[in-house]
Symmetry: C2
Subunit: 221 residues, 2 copies
């Protein structure tokens, strides 16, 4: 297997972040590149969902992935097996990515020939929500074992998400998770959010998610 590229990224100045994020978003729009910021708690299944997403879309478009982590390159190695272009971003201990860090990652990945770039953000329901990365859209994953009360405890994450994937639905019967109660809790924070139940492991519910992505990417073209 090829060596995974590991990029050490540096934090930008916080005050300028919103401006830099908007600049990045505008330049990606001009270049017709869709940037998805994918967020979740640790272990919610971001990488597995991403592998299924790549498999579902890679015949239709060119995809690049940025894997952000405090340490390790285990996720980048998993993604590499799909054939998608991937870089591993190391955040130097930081729990989030800002717009400047994201831009550095995109520069390292190369954007010219890509239709879709996914930033797999650091596994964390707090900090990543506080920083606009310059993404075209934000997606987040909440997995069933985490519980249906999480929108009450991590309000900002649910407020900034354009789409909420509810992962690990295949094991829902083993947990006290009420999908309707979860939807109600999400709507308290974000009435506009699209909520899609999936199982990245079994492939259940992936088509509505892929369709949502296709539509969003088409608008950017």
């Amino acid at each position: 297997m090829d060596q995974v590229r590991i990029i050490e990224i540096k934090e930008g100045v916080f005050e300028q972040n919103n401006q830099k994020a908007q600049e990045l978003r505008d330049s990606l729009k001009q270049e017709k590149v869709f940037l998805l910021n994918l967020m979740s708690a640790p272990g919610s299944g971001k990488t597995t969902t991403l592998v299924q997403t790549i498999k579902g879309l890679q015949d239709e478009m060119k995809i690049g992935i940025m894997e952000a982590d405090i340490d390790s390159d285990v996720d980048a190695r998993t993604i590499q097996q799909t054939g998608a272009r991937v870089v591993q971003l190391h955040t130097g201990g930081m729990c989030h990515l800002d717009a400047e860090m994201t831009r550095q990652g995109i520069d390292a990945l190369g954007r010219e020939d890509l239709d879709l770039i996914v930033l797999e953000n650091v596994g964390n329901l707090v900090c990543p929500a506080e920083f606009d990365t310059g993404s075209t859209k934000n997606a987040m994953i909440l997995s069933v074992p985490e519980g249906d009360d999480k929108p009450l405890k991590y309000p900002l994450m649910f407020a900034v998400a354009d789409v909420v994937l509810v992962n690990k639905m295949d094991v829902a019967e083993h947990f006290d998770f009420d999908l309707e109660r979860f939807k109600d809790n999400v709507r308290l924070r974000n009435p506009e959010a699209i909520i899609l139940p999936i199982s990245a492991r079994t492939g259940e519910g992936m088509e509505p998610w892929l369709d949502w992505l296709r539509q969003q990417i088409e608008r950017q073209q």
Copy 2:
């Protein structure tokens, strides 16, 4: 049900944190109060584990709980039903507690008559590990659905943990989780960590955990 007390806490100066943490730890030792800092990702089962822990120990000692969250008081309400004294700490959007915030929480809770105080930290595998809270010992929970690779991706959290509880063992058969591989990964970060498999839901494995706590608390007396 009584109203849950909600304390809005303010962040201390980062540079002074280590010193303040040591001062808090020393003063708790003098007063024979054991402070446990309980950390995990969102949805790992901190509150359920805490309820079981309180039930197992409350006939032997006096227990106070500090619930730290960005928002909501759902966990404090759950804890309140056990009869333990509890305060809810709101971190003002921050993803961690430092020693000064912890001290403010303990002052609000009152420490005079307590043997054990547990700080249920913000659900997050990154930031809480970076700040010494002044705790006597650090415990963390990793739940089976999160995966056995997490010590590779969140090294500091596993490095600072004195004990690692592996929760949700009752559903292990439904996940690709290898306990031995997990132990190996933990040991890469922390050869000294005690690793205890539990199910807070079924009560499986709680006795070794309670025994560990009893021994630690005894040393503080």
